[in-house]
Symmetry: C2
Subunit: 414 residues, 2 copies
């Protein structure tokens, strides 16, 4: 732990922060300390302008001609190409479309088709639930022996048999923030003849990802977390170029067709990553994502990672120092190199603590069954804010504010 | 044909139009005559305000709390409930989510599950292509004898055998605008033990649809045509309430789970139509659709239909009068009762005619192989505009402007 950690030393750290100017590129509500950028990133100011442009000018004035004149038709590939360098992919290996759940379905179904005779999808019970649910939905639909097998990155070897078509893991665990060894696991999966699929929802925009160095087969990820694409922003798919010709996904909609405007009566997949597209993209939401991604690129993913590690380490130090004895137990890796960009603490009163903290202007989130999750989006957070956040957390814990009944009522979204 | 059709009589008709005031609720670019509201509806002024509110206030200031505080979590069901009365459904039978293509996949897969042992999907080669492609994708994925059988609404009886699980037709044909007999076909399909699925993309918002009177099983439809939800607006799904317990769709993402925020490791479908939801909705795009639908509701779908019939009939009369001998052949039904809200004319130079017309400020669209499609969105079009549009069409045809080489170059989106 650094010696003599004070609010003043942190203010000095902010003044010296090479990313400091990026904070001004976001809308930061007065008095709010937002530690939930891993659920919904803050609003980039550029998106305010962009949405006006796309709605009032492109839709309002240019109307249908915008598909050509403003490049809407290229938007899924163009936005994908912008995400690509953040995740270690080539520009033609990424496309933006649909939701993470739907994209995982496409990728899992492709993988099963590419491994005929193999009927098992290995996934992690601790994966973000939708990853498991989607694999369940596919297996149930296919029947005929198609099934899930549960394993963790630590127990993967035991799960790898010659019936495994694909292994679907998260790169950064949505609860613990543990970073998995993408290259190592991918190699083990591939040695067993299966395909390695990575969910980058808690990585993209926060951590440099090296999909091609790791030789990953497929990946999916979310646009509304660290990429700041806005609520429910479309998601992305990565497919390694070597799979482009062989992959076939069943959500074969017209915009993934080789010649969509020929209106032929038989589906012919587009070449390349474009065959992962299904229907018409939600242009307004997707344009916001495209704009937001450019800011992350400008800040530089390596610099963001450095600041993120410093911040999550600081947050742990501050909580353990200021809230010692409060029962908050670190449940994220202590080693910054193995930790993503959020920190969780276990506490039996986790739910009510998150609510009490929110009433004091610090937004984190609760993750069942008993985790307080504090997300660090280094592009807009300051070190001094972390000091203030922990000071408020200390007040909540010291006064046992989580005991107040108003903090114990469960909201629809927790 | 009405006697003495003049621009003046049409201006008088506009002045007497009970829907006249709705035109002012849309952004109408100066000098443009927009006959393509069946591809992308115009921008409602209310959407300009709404998008600012959802981006700057809800996302920018309220951030993650908007899921509860601004009802984002209810948005798919709330928007669905608003579409329901336009299509003859109950409020709890419609949900907004994903794209039409993806929603059709969910519905087709549900139908196959509900008719075990039956492996055939009947569809129409003349359906909008994505409807066929999606059925192909599902059949290919399932294998095991699952296949497509082609029929038209006119030849459906011959296609109905005891191996048919579902029949998927469009209510209004995207080319000819022919309206199918939903109740009659549904009854025949159901007598054969299959489920009737309707694509309402060219009906919703233009024609009163009576799904429940017809006893339809499922339907899907598009948000960006006559509903004016904006480019790539999310689509909708209708499922008759009697099927809610039995239906299971394979894109079983977390927001269709019975208790999404319990983060359980096993999928349990939500009750009711909510199980058709998959992932996180694109809130910005979906909010625009919700706002736009309210305007259609206010105008009244019956009044819109009356105006639409008068306008498509007028358009046919004007073209046949003004452009007689030009080779433009009506390829839509002549009977307004059997015609949706657009009109197509066949002409060997269809593509170039559409481009030449556009250069004269009249936007229609081309549909392969040789159709000029002119869409009538009665909520914002005036009768006088149709006069002017046909006057410009006459200029194009008389001068054979379609012969100019600049109109013969194919754009990415046609």
């Amino acid at each position: 732990m650094p010696q003599q950690l004070t609010r003043e030393t942190l203010i000095a750290k902010d003044l010296a922060d090479p990313l400091r100017r990026f904070r001004d590129q976001f809308v930061i509500p007065e008095g709010l300390i937002y530690l939930d950028g891993n659920s919904l990133g803050m609003l980039p100011r550029a998106c305010v302008e962009r949405v006006q442009q796309v709605v009032e000018h492109e839709w309002g004035e240019t109307l249908i001609s915008s598909w050509n004149d403003h490049g809407w038709i290229e938007l899924p590939l163009r936005a994908g190409a912008k995400i690509a360098p953040l995740i270690g992919a080539q520009a033609d290996e990424v496309v933006v479309c649909d939701s993470t759940s739907i994209n995982l379905f496409k990728v899992l179904a492709s993988a099963l088709t590419m491994r005929p005779g193999r009927r098992v999808i290995v996934t992690n019970k601790e994966n973000f639930p939708t990853d498991v649910y989607i694999a369940e939905g596919l297996a149930r639909l296919l029947g005929n022996g198609c099934e899930l097998r549960f394993a963790t990155p630590d127990t993967i070897d035991a799960a790898l048999a010659d019936d495994v078509a694909a292994v679907s893991f998260s790169h950064v665990d949505y609860k613990s923030a543990r970073i998995e060894d993408m290259a190592g696991i991918t190699a083990r999966v591939q040695r067993a003849g299966a395909l390695a699929i990575w969910d980058l929802s808690h990585s993209a925009g926060a951590i440099p990802v090296d999909l091609n160095v790791a030789q990953a087969d497929f990946a999916v990820g979310c646009g509304y977390k660290y990429l700041n694409g806005g609520p429910g922003a479309p998601a992305f798919i990565f497919a390694a170029r070597r799979h482009h010709d062989a992959m076939r996904q069943p959500l074969s909609g017209w915009l993934g067709h080789a010649t969509p405007f020929a209106f032929g009566s038989h589906y012919e997949p587009a070449s390349g990553i474009a065959r992962m597209i299904t229907g018409t993209p939600p242009v307004v939401s997707m344009s916001l994502l495209e704009t937001a991604v450019a800011i992350i690129t400008e800040a530089g993913i390596e610099r963001l990672r450095e600041k993120s590690k410093a911040m999550t380490s600081l947050l742990i130090d501050l909580v353990e120092q200021q809230c010692a004895g409060s029962g908050l137990d670190l449940a994220s890796p202590r080693d910054a190199e193995r930790r993503g960009s959020h920190v969780i603490f276990a506490h039996p009163e986790g739910y009510a603590i998150v609510q009490a903290l929110k009433a004091r202007g610090v937004v984190g989130d609760f993750r069942a069954p008993h985790f307080v999750r504090l997300g660090i989006a280094p592009i807009y957070l300051s070190y001094a804010e972390l000091w203030d956040a922990v000071a408020r957390l200390k007040t909540v814990m010291d006064a046992r504010e989580w005991n107040q009944s108003r903090f114990r009522v469960r909201a629809a979204v927790t």
